[in-house]
Symmetry: C2
Subunit: 387 residues, 2 copies
């Protein structure tokens, strides 16, 4: 774990109260503290809170002065986020409150219900939701880092009653932590993450689950495609169970549409089993699914946030020996070709790997010739949609 | 395209007849010709055959001498493989015949049917199937390469009546092309590829299809998980339609099991929509899917073909500037740490990427300290199941 000062001076003024000293809360505390902001820490677990203090994320909440916080960051597990947000709004009438839960509609509902109950719309005006998209396999204060949010999207989620001031405070927090703020209402946010994150997680898990009791010989034929498609199935069940159950509505909508496509495909494939591969409409059904998949994957933005870019791809054989990959990149640098992206492809039992190096199409030929001159084996090159 | 002599002398004796001069047939022809084996080429498309001849994959089939081939490699599209195999067995009574179709049961059935029809079991004895696992996005003779099969698994698929000699000839071909032969019966093979290749392809396409008409704001939140899970949805529909329709039985079995898991999940998530996130059994249902996914993904072999290896993972921030990735690998080399694997992680709108560098756990601390001394920002490090 490394802590460093952020890249630029921060505009957030303290004190900031961080409620929940897990990965996200502690990381935010580290970055703000390093920038000189007064950060107070609170967690239901004294051990967790102590750990966050010890790594330098802030002071205990007991040291909070009478003036109270200007900003409360609720970074608890998602199933208690709504309750903690309402408590913070009630307890600290001068504070803007935000939370990092990855599902937003439920929290907004809790806040609006409280405002109605108390007859005080000002409570709701001080709430603006957040979803910093900075996940990580490890959790807890021990995995925290001041750099966690740098360059990551941070969705700012105001509701209709959120004050302009509260929105500015939350947007400033995101920017101060190095994140890239973008704005969305709660419903749009929850449907969006169902589509690009929650359903892909479930589908990867459903697919990987088929391997749990599969014969070993089948697994021996696994290639890079299977590895890529199931990689996120290794994610933490506890974390995801809470997230997914909390966004059941949008997740069900997308899963049902996928299930309908699957059922249509199955009808035609079952017919092919009985009538033969060219009968029963299976060719057309498979083709429809594949074509729709082509169209969908082409819409995923490239790494710079724009439309997918056209790259040239050069496939290079890389012997499975220490230092070979390093030599490849060094020599690409010598040739003067910038690497746009790369993937490594290993299959079971291989003594060599294949590096797919994506470069500017205008430089692909130079890359290929230069690498060949240096003794590399080029397998192929072509233009492709980079991601 | 590059052609070079194979790494070692070959044991295959010619003449070898290659039927179908697409990517696989032409690549095999190139490697065998370069090793001095007499290769004859045949294709229903004169243009395709001519291209294969011109790149050096072999001579026209018209030059075939009266002795006929010792080995016929049928490398046609899968939907005509069975017919071509039967024709070769009939036409060249001295030849061992193999084919590269990625679904094997249908070809075996065609061969056995012919043996029964003609009352000549010797025909079937000369057939042994193959499935070289050397796919590629581009097809055709123009994409061919003598190195295509190097290090790739090559499934040798004898049937009960295959002669020992025919099996040896096909296994020798695989080895001569640099592939790693493994043996499997047709039914086991077809179920295995359904599980690790065909169903993952369909599932990735079904998932990506959900993005085809999705709102642009949702796509803006796409991260590396979505990119990985849907990468193979960009595959060629024509090629896959033929493969998938030809293996409908095993594909249906696996898809139906996946569909049943999906329906169980949907029942509980629908209940959660009505009753709230903690009701209706949704927490348990999601957890079951996630846990099964964890177990399944843990069974995918590591890159050296054994059980998954334990690596340490060091996450490094890489500024989005030319040459930075090259510098990272060069400096890892200077530190004396061998790179076991890596992934690059970019999100929309980022000015930095994250490289996840996998190293020997015993060297992780050195890697981290050495990189930090050279000015790199380490975000985190931990042990993980490498792939």
């Amino acid at each position: 774990m490394v802590t460093r000062a952020p890249l630029r001076p921060v505009a957030t003024t303290g004190p900031v109260l961080v409620v929940g000293t897990g990965l996200l809360g502690t990381s935010a505390g580290l970055a703000l503290s390093a920038a000189g902001v007064d950060v107070l820490l609170s967690d239901t677990s004294p051990t967790s809170q102590r750990l966050a203090q010890d790594v330098g994320a802030g002071r205990p909440v007991a040291y909070m002065g009478a003036e109270g916080p200007t900003l409360v960051l609720v970074a608890t597990p998602p199933d208690v986020a709504g309750g903690c947000v309402v408590e913070a709004l009630t307890h600290y009438p001068g504070a803007v409150v935000t939370d990092v839960a990855s599902v937003k509609s439920a929290v907004v509902e809790d806040v609006l219900r409280e405002a109605e109950k108390t007859g005080d719309p000002a409570i709701a005006a001080r709430y603006v939701g957040s979803h910093p998209m900075a996940g990580r396999e490890r959790s807890g204060a021990g995995a925290a880092d001041a750099d966690l949010f740098i360059g990551r999207p941070w969705v700012v989620v105001p509701h209709e009653g959120s004050s302009a001031e509260a929105q500015l405070v939350v947007r400033t927090l995101a920017t101060d932590l190095g994140a890239v703020p973008l704005e969305m209402d709660a419903d749009t946010h929850d449907h969006s993450v169902a589509l690009v994150s929650h359903v892909p997680q479930l589908v990867a898990s459903l697919l990987a689950a088929r391997l749990a009791d599969a014969p070993g010989v089948a697994l021996g034929l696994a290639g890079q495609g299977l590895r890529d498609t199931t990689r996120i199935a290794a994610s933490d069940p506890r974390l995801w169970t809470s997230i997914l159950a909390g966004n059941a509505g949008p997740v069900v909508e997308t899963l049902e549409a996928l299930g309908a496509d699957l059922e249509d495909l199955l009808v035609h494939l079952r017919a092919a089993v009985v009538q033969g591969p060219l009968e029963g409409g299976s060719v057309g059904a498979v083709n429809r699914v594949m074509e729709a998949g082509n169209r969908g994957v082409a819409r995923i933005p490239g790494k710079h946030g724009g439309a997918p870019q056209r790259f040239s791809e050069v496939e290079v054989l890389v012997p499975d020996r220490p230092g070979e990959l390093g030599r490849l990149f060094t020599e690409l640098g010598e040739i003067g070709v910038n690497l746009e992206d790369l993937t490594l492809d290993h299959s079971a039992g291989q003594q060599v790997g294949v590096a797919r190096v994506m470069v500017d199409p205008a430089r692909a030929r130079d890359a290929e010739l230069g690498l060949e001159r240096r003794g590399w084996r080029i397998i192929a090159h072509w233009s492709t949609e980079g991601s």
